[in-house]
Point group: C2
Chain length 149, copies 2
């Protein structure tokens, strides 16, 4: 059976693309409030680094720690963004290269896989679930951290 898919809801794709572009700007300028504004209060996050799960307000605190660990702004280069959206729900996946210089002079450049799930509210699209990760190498048990894909 052919996979006949409805087209995305008009405007939804553009609105969600803008949400991620505003995240890229917020990370460059370390604007924690703008980052937090994209999330639903009850967001559930599976992040690339431990622990296993963050919930709601804890997520905002984590993001602030993350921003504070960098001397520079944080680079957030999105590739292969694929958005699926109807009037109320949307999900998308993309690859994102995180980069910058940490306070201890560590130069970060790593690709991360990301999945975001959103709901449309009266005040716009909000992220209700986000999953970011790198795979691990089954032989070594090490996370696959790479600046080149």
């Amino acid at each position: 059976m052919p996979a006949v898919h409805r087209p995305n809801e008009p405007n939804a794709e553009a609105e969600i693309r803008e949400l991620f572009e505003s995240r890229t700007r917020a990370l460059a300028s370390k604007d924690a409030a703008a980052l937090a504004a994209a999330n639903d209060a009850a967001v559930v996050v599976f992040d690339a680094v431990a622990p296993f799960v963050h919930h709601g307000a804890e997520t905002a605190a984590r993001k602030q720690e993350w921003l504070a660990a960098y001397r520079t702004g944080i680079g957030h280069e999105i590739r292969d963004l694929k958005i699926t959206a109807d009037a109320d729900l949307a999900f998308c996946h993309f690859l994102v290269r995180i980069s910058g210089t940490m306070l201890d002079d560590t130069e970060v450049s790593m690709w991360v896989r990301a999945t975001s799930c959103l709901r449309k509210r009266n005040d716009g699209w909000k992220i209700v679930h986000e999953h970011a990760s790198v795979p691990f190498d089954a032989k070594t048990g090490k996370a696959v951290v790479t600046g080149d894909l």
Copy 2:
């Protein structure tokens, strides 16, 4: 602003829950065809182990390799399944403990974070994107593999 969310589409939650229960049965009995039937032909998978991305038919081949690596059936114990669904789209996240005995006698027991994104087609809900991962420890660079959460 309070997050006023519409309830899930009637039946969708039960149908998607059944999809994951049928996966649990398929892994226990190593039924590769039943596993593949839940996926859209164009599924995009971010798996817990490398490489970064699998697409479509490659995914089915990977699943067969995975099943073949186990002497036993594969345990697939789902916890904290949260489903959000309307008539056409759905997304869900859950934790899942993968377990079993591999051909080389390795005893596997590990919790994985999972996000699945689905579309309703004429022949039922199909997974169009799936993201499974474990976090890594930022200090050691090691994947966090645990049988206890």
